[in-house]
């Protein structure tokens, strides 16, 4: 007869659940948050197009060479690129800030959960002694 559900003693089951199942779950959720945040703020896309024109707003240099027109187009395009870079950098900074928040928060929660049984026992010991 094949048993499909595990019948190991409850204590070992608890060890497996607390330190592998749940801790693994927290690590997975932590990873989800980090990747979601990275994607939500489009950090990679913004880095790739950091110095692109803002909203593709560019002025054509036109046919032939006219110094004034050229200068006008050059300055306009430069402003558009600088503006684009400025807005993108702000978003990237925000994105990275939240990335760090999630990184440390996740680490804290993971460690807290992992060591919670020991912490509870230590807390009990010191409060009674």
């Amino acid at each position: 007869m094949i048993e499909s559900s595990s019948k190991t003693p409850l204590f070992f089951k608890w060890l497996h659940w607390h330190f592998i199942e749940c801790s693994g779950g927290i690590l997975k959720a932590w990873g989800n948050f980090l990747s979601f945040n990275f994607n939500y703020f489009s950090i990679l896309d913004l880095l790739k197009s950091l110095f692109s024109h803002w909203k593709k707003d560019k002025v054509s240099y036109g046919k032939g060479f006219s110094p004034l027109n050229w200068l006008n187009a050059f300055l306009s395009n430069m402003i558009s690129r600088v503006l684009g870079a400025f807005v993108r950098i702000i978003v990237i900074v925000f994105g990275l800030f939240f990335e760090m928040v999630f990184l440390f928060l996740g680490l804290f929660l993971f460690l807290l959960w992992f060591f919670l049984p020991f912490l509870a026992l230590v807390f009990l010991y010191f409060s009674l002694v």
Binding site: S4, S5, L10, F36, L124
Partner: protein
Amino acid sequence: MIFNLKKTAFWQLRRWSFLFKPAKLFCFFFLIFSLISVCFFYNSLEKGEPFLGVFFFLFWFFLELHLFYRFLKKPKLKHSLKEINDKFNLASFLSFDSFLILKKKKWVSHLINSSSKEVRMVFSRGQLKKPKAKQENIEKIVEGALETAEQRITPGDLLISLAEQSSFFKEHLIKEDFRKEDIENLVFWCRRIGKRKESKKKWWEKENLLNRGSLAKDFASSFTINLDKYCLDLREKVKKRGFREVVGHEKELKQIESILEKEEKNNVLLVGEPGVGRGSIIEELSQRIFCGKSSPNLNYKRVLIFDLSVLASKTTSQDEVEMELEKCFLESFEAGNVILVTEDFHNFLSENPSPGTINISGVLAKYLKLSQFRIIAITDYQGFHSVIERNSSLSGMFEKVEASEISERETLELLENLVPFFEAKHKRLIGYRALREIVNLSSRYLSIPFPEKSIRLLDESMAYLSTNTKDKVLEPRHIKRVVSQKTEIPLEDLEGKEKELLLNLEEKIHQRLIDQEEAVKSVSDALRRARAEVNLKSGPMGSFLFLGPTGVGKTELSKTLAEIYFGAETKMIRFDMSEFQHIDDIKRLIGTSKQEGLLTVKVREDPFSLILLDELEKAHKDILNLFLQVLDEGWLTDALGRKVDFKNTIIIATSNAGSALIQEDLKKGKTSEEIKEHLFDFLIKQGIYRPEFINRFDDVVYFKSLTKEDLMKIAHLMLKKLKTNLLDKGVKFEITLQLKEKIVELSYNPAFGAREMKRVIQDEVENVLAKELLSGKLKRGINVKVDPKNFNLLTW
């Protein structure tokens, strides 16, 4: 298979349940105690340390126990249900709830009265009374439950298995007008709700996080100022309204995604009838794109509904239209992150645009070639065939995707998803039986496609319930009332009437039709089989080929059936097939891009009807081939590519082929059986009908020639009708045996059956009566009879 509850992990857990069960409660208490301790000893924390430490430890301990218990109730299995064979212990695949039920001695009773969500859903939403439980073989039921189980065998699976295998439960379901499929639907409905809730609870899962969309993906795309004036951004709609689950259409969605992803010819022409869910397909696509759940090339693009009618109303000349379109399309192309959607595309391609309409084909054709420009054009079959298909250069730049009608089961699922919305809106409950009735009745009586017709019917029924009644629950009778009002078919009592009708169909038919016992029995049997849903075929409700000489009652039986079963003779769609002798006549039946089909339109408009094909042998051979599929599959595709459903029709074809042969056989004194056999051979040998065509009918019925006794009865029926008409005028008409005998004597001709009799009654009786009535000799209160010798009237 082996079934041993004591060997399962749950059995092991049973011993510790005294500790696990109250864990949640203790956890709550010790949390409160911990908080109180913190508040109480806030100023002298050292004094309170022992209390605080113990309370905090116990809080953690019971929290851990509670969470661990939840895990233990859903332990992971080492094997999937697919792997099960005789060596496995079936009990280890039970869910915790099923385990608790099955470990009881009277487990059937516990199952029926279980507090499991699935079981409660079946009895409450299904408005199903609980039966008196009888014990059943546990192994048999659990083994049967494997069929519907997903990861574990739940109480819902056990109940479905009980409905399949237990005789007492089956009997109860028959009494309650419920089927195993209904229990399945309710259990699956509950399971879907559970999964949705479970998924929502896990907000940290990738799927849920993705639903928040993303920021800054548009920074590298340009503004679309002109385009935005005429567009609705579906991304904004998704953000505001949230996510809606779309049922079915997965095939169409995949097709659209793969077309949009291509570098060339990446424009979609979505063809489908209004109501099949074309809008839902676009909504689902925009949801997936918004969440980044589509293909990488499409994710985070903007799906814009381009309202061309607004553009048409704001412009005055074609030049102005083209200028504005040029700007919009250019913006869409330059932005690079836009997918345009145009509805009723065919309306904007008119070669000679009238006021209020525009022609966009010129400007559009230029952009369709560009890979950065993506458009989904929505149209219907009529528009596709009559306008778009003719413009081959334009249609060549699109990839066609056909949006098909979703199935009845999918429609039911869709309605189930809509239940919370309608219940909240109208503050009334919706029973499952009402949903089932909506699908059944809309399939049978409403002509627009699924799911639209069912959604509309649900909406109308809820409006009816909340405005016209004080009832708190939507039930089948409300649906019937609404459908009756819409179609003018008296449905409310039909169910009971229909059962009675079907059981006494022969008797009812014979009130109008004399003799032809075999034909009447055959038709009645086939109808009973079809309505009891015991036949396995997928064609129409019934299909019959009536053979026999003229005037023996073939058409009369069809008319009688239409009146008795479908409510009126007018519910009969009649075709004289002698009018369809050329191959080109197929177009008249199924239509063309310019004209509607005589057959297909009538069946679409009135799906619950009787189709009479008179004198079938005179129709062109290819027309007979057309009916091969109808008889076999129960549907036909019309000239516009629309699927026309014949599943709720009865098809009767009549044929006089071989009449001369029948006359000869009659003269030779052959029996009906001999004539029938001879006639079949003749029809096949002569190539009038092919064997595979004849075999497609549910029954081929031979109508025997009428005897003098039959004609006497028919004469009586005809004269009785005349008597009723005269009675309305106050004249009492007496039918005498001598008159009937005289009429039969004058009209008896085996070649013409009862047809000649009609003429004799008309010439000899009706004419005389009409003259006397007009001359004023026949007055109210007078009794009259006809002298059979000279057909003079005798009054007194």
